[in-house]
């Protein structure tokens, strides 16, 4: 069985760098890519009544958009290469979900990019990369 690499991908430039890094590793080792897109979501947030009414509809739209606009182009790109790719779209806390996806898919590594935020920002707002390093069940690579 080939080694799987979970890549946290949201379409950003940083995520793109992580993807390129992961693809290079996967090619070298004959591994596969798990392209993971997590939509930040908490079941304890507050919504207005009209947001409640539309939630199911919006979720469907968000999933479709993620599939088509974010993950779709990458998958199309990678099918030409020798690397096999599967996609996962989830709702939840980003770092927590990436860890969960790694466990579920039996991946050997999680690879994420990071925005060049300052130490102060990371301290105040928290950062996905930082949380992931603390909580991930498998080794992590942070691509700057």
């Amino acid at each position: 069985m080939s080694d799987k690499f979970v890549v946290g991908y949201d379409g950003s430039v940083a995520a793109r760098r992580a993807l390129e890094f992961a693809v290079a590793r996967a090619k070298a080792q004959g591994g596969a890519i798990v392209l993971a897109h997590v939509l930040e979501w908490s079941p304890y947030s507050f919504l207005t009544p009209s947001e409640l009414e539309e939630r199911h509809m919006r979720r469907r739209e968000e999933m479709e958009r993620a599939e088509e606009a974010v993950l779709g182009p990458v998958v199309a790109e990678l099918t030409d290469s020798s690397v096999s790719v599967e996609t996962v779209i989830r709702y939840g806390n980003i770092a927590e979900m990436l860890g969960k996806i790694a466990t579920e898919t039996g991946a050997v590594q999680i690879i994420v990019g990071r925005e060049g935020s300052s130490a102060l920002e990371a301290r105040i707002f928290g950062s996905v990369a930082g949380t992931l390093v603390q909580t991930a069940p498998v080794p992590c690579t942070i691509v700057p």
């Binding site: 009544p49 409640l52 939630r55 199911h56 989830r90």
Partner: protein
């Protein structure tokens, strides 16, 4: 000598300054008065009908209607509000939520949104009205009504989810108008459609009354308490503008900020109340003594024990809306396969609203001794008008709560003013949605039709802020209780369906068929 002239000149200038706005105010107040008069004249018959007494007594039949309803549901479902609280809490925590449903409406979100529509002025101003008319004893009846109301809420919210509409485009909405029509049809009973139409009419009136005018009115009173008197229609216009921006303009940011700040304000309110109660810990026993004694003797309040009971039940129902049917609209959107789970979650709503928050308000008013007693007899004195207990500052409604908090923590009235304004605003947004759902049930969906309702809603914000408390509160109560009349009739016919769901769910829960996901 010089000094005297100077001060005389100052005084004259001061008088002129005071005089000019006073003159302008007189004209403006007469406009407010006119609005008030027209409003009182045109709604009086409706209020009279809803609050008419049993022949030969001074007991309004509507209060009995709510009490009997809550009692029937409590007994019929075997005290479900006490049996299932633990399970309700784990449902809200998400222990039983399928992780694959992440991103859908959670139990917590449905509960929080429903609460934002109920927690508000009923808890702050309504409770003050209850204790200032019914005395401390009203608190006892209010808590009892809250506990019993949990069963009514359970019944209506289960039905709300069971008979909701799931549209092809993915929107989900429900409420009494749907369970009345669909549920009656399913049971082969006639009249469901008529009840649904009646409910919708009263829901629109309730949205314009308690969900709108009462809120605007009390928000205005609160703002004038801080910045001084000015005409109500000005507050009304500002509020109407903001509401318009959210519900017509679709400016989500305003609603989102409110939805985020309101829960924080709620926690701050309860926290402060607890601090004030703790500061007067030696009076806690006395306060509960007053509550119990007042509940059964009245302690000299107008109307005695019955007066306390009526006020307690009325204000509890107005605050937690159990049996009214409104919350079923908000709870319907939850993602669940078992309608009963949302019913169980909704049990917590009257508990948080009435048993916790309303009781805090009442305790603070009693403990800070805002109600004036006769030192000799220990009985409460009547105010000049003879229709309520005399208060220290002659205040009532939200002013009384503000005075009570202010007597312990000087700056808190400012925070309270902000809280009231925010609560009022969030309640208006929630009720504009309830009203709109009833409106579209009657007239069908469509942008123009919906816009008509939204504009009417905004106009009533202005009327509510300009009118006086008396007529506004009467009309608000009457409209909301009229919803309860229709809704509870429906609940009686549909409760066997809920019973079946409850029994099936509970037996599957016991057998382990329904499992936690964690």
């Amino acid at each position: 000598m010089n000094k005297n002239i100077f001060s005389a000149a100052l005084a004259a200038a001061g008088l002129a300054l005071v005089g000019a706005p006073a003159f302008a105010q007189q004209q403006a107040i007469s406009l407010d008065d006119k609005v008030n008069q027209i409003f009182a004249d045109s709604t009086g018959w409706f209020v009279g009908l809803i609050f008419s007494n049993f022949p030969g007594t001074s007991f309004p039949w509507i209060v009995m209607w709510l009490v009997v309803g809550a009692t029937v549901f409590t007994l019929y479902f075997g005290f479900v509000q006490f049996r299932a609280v633990g399970h309700a809490i784990s449902l809200v925590k998400g222990d039983y939520s399928d992780p694959d449903d992440a991103g859908e409406v959670s139990h917590f979100q449905a509960l929080a949104t429903a609460l934002s529509g109920t927690v508000g002025l009923g808890n702050i101003a309504g409770v003050a009205v209850a204790v200032s008319i019914g005395g401390p004893g009203a608190t006892f009846w209010m808590i009892l009504a809250g506990l019993m109301g949990m069963a009514s809420k359970f019944t209506e919210c289960t039905l709300g989810v069971k008979y909701r509409n799931e549209y092809p485009d993915g929107r989900v909405s429900g409420g009494p108008m749907y369970y009345l029509s669909k549920g009656f049809a399913e049971r082969g009973l006639p009249g469901g459609k008529i009840l649904a139409v009646l409910f919708s009419i009263f829901c629109i009136l309730g949205a314009l009354g308690g969900g709108n005018m009462f809120q605007a009115n009390q928000a205005h009173q609160q703002i004038t308490g801080v910045v001084g008197q000015y005409p109500g229609w000005i507050t009304g216009l500002v509020f109407a503008g903001l509401v318009f921006a959210v519900i017509v303009g679709g400016i989500k940011s305003i609603a989102r900020v409110t939805e985020k700040v309101v829960p924080f304000m709620g926690i701050l309110y309860v926290g402060t109340a607890l601090v004030i109660i703790a500061m007067n810990y030696h009076l806690i026993g006395w306060a509960f003594g007053q509550i119990f004694a007042g509940a059964f003797t009245g302690l000299g309040v107008a109307g005695g024990m019955v007066g306390a009971l009526i006020q307690g039940f009325k204000r509890a129902a107005f605050s937690n809306e159990a049996g009214v049917g409104s919350a079923a609209i908000a709870h319907s959107a939850v993602k669940t396969k078992e309608p009963i789970t949302e019913g169980l979650v909704s049990l917590l709503e009257p508990f948080i609203d009435t048993v916790v928050i309303c009781t805090m308000t009442a305790l603070v008013i009693i403990i800070t001794q805002q109600l004036v007693t006769d030192p000799q007899t220990g009985l409460y004195l009547l105010n000049e008008a003879g229709n309520g207990v005399k208060t220290v500052g002659g205040t009532s409604g939200v002013g009384l709560t503000s005075a009570a908090f202010g007597s312990a923590i000087g700056w808190f009235p400012y925070v309270l003013a902000l809280a009231v304004v925010l609560f009022a605003f969030s309640t208006m947004i929630t009720w504009s949605y309830y009203g709109l759902k009833a409106w579209t049930y009657l007239f069908g969906e469509g942008d123009t039709k919906e816009l008509v309702f939204k504009v009417i809603f905004c106009v009533f914000v202005v009327i509510g802020a300009a009118a006086q408390l008396g007529p506004v509160i009467d009309f608000s109560d009457a409209a909301i209780f009229a919803m309860a009349v229709v809704n509870i009739i429906g609940l009686y016919f549909l409760m066997p369906i809920v019973k079946r769901e409850l029994d099936s769910y509970m037996s599957r829960l016991r057998s382990g068929e329904i499992k936690k996901f964690i």
